[in-house]
Symmetry: C2
Subunit: 156 residues, 2 copies
């Protein structure tokens, strides 16, 4: 399991390798993004900005955007659209991959992994003449029981 500190280290490596600099803001954004308390969140830039702001009121919106772009470049963040008009980001665990199920009743985002689907995706890509480099899969569904009683958590 990648801790927030590990993530900061990975970012540091990426930055120095590219002649860029580690800064207090970049570290703070990374720490907040990887905070285990929000592990299952899929925050928007705004949500992350608010969390960062509560720790340092001077950080600008653009810095959060720019840092998230950096984190994406070094595979620490994964941007995804869940049918809304804004990008959500989730912390990446190296070597792990999961897809998402969105509850049509309460918009909760539930993570899952299915190795059989992943394998089939590679096969399909190959049959089409490609080497699979990435994929996005989002399932939408109605909960069998009402959300109140089920595991759905309203993310916003």
């Amino acid at each position: 399991m990648l801790t927030a500190d590990d993530a900061v280290d990975v970012l540091k490596g990426y930055l120095s390798k590219n002649g860029l600099k580690m800064t207090g803001q970049r570290e703070l954004v990374t720490q907040v993004f990887f905070d285990p308390e929000h592990k299952e969140d899929h925050p928007t830039v705004e949500e992350l900005y608010i969390r960062v702001r509560s720790l340092d009121t001077k950080v600008g919106y653009a810095t959060v955007y720019r840092t998230l772009k950096l984190l994406t470049e070094c595979n620490l963040a994964n941007p995804t659209r869940f049918g809304e008009n804004q990008t959500r980001y989730e912390p990446e665990q190296p070597g792990e991959h999961h897809d998402h199920m969105v509850c049509t009743e309460c918009n909760a985002i539930i993570e899952f992994e299915d190795q059989r689907i992943e394998e089939l995706q590679e096969l399909v890509a190959e049959k089409l003449g490609f080497v699979l480099t990435d994929h996005k899969m989002v399932l939408f569904g109605e909960p069998l029981e009402s959300c109140a009683s089920s595991g759905c958590r309203r993310p916003d």
Copy 2:
């Protein structure tokens, strides 16, 4: 196979059922959207607007947006994001479903269908306590042969 005229009929039904009105613009947009010559396209609003404009210079941008929203409501259009900052729409065939493979070299969008994946998606949803109502799956991959020689068609 749903023809453009069939689509117009479906739209008419939807409109009258909802106290809305068929208009020349709505019919034109629908015809252009379902034009068999562009069957495999996944046009953006702008691309569609340009095609519509070439037939009737007086149609407004907003009308194309609004018509596409109506078509989506009656399941004649399916909006999807392919990692760009704009929505692409594809004509829907009732009872048919396909997913997409995007070429990372030339951005060609290739359609495919895989029944095994569809089945697994339903199983996964069920196991999570949902009835699958929709899904989006986009694969990204590098072409085994360079695009020039392979089946990739540059869509834009």
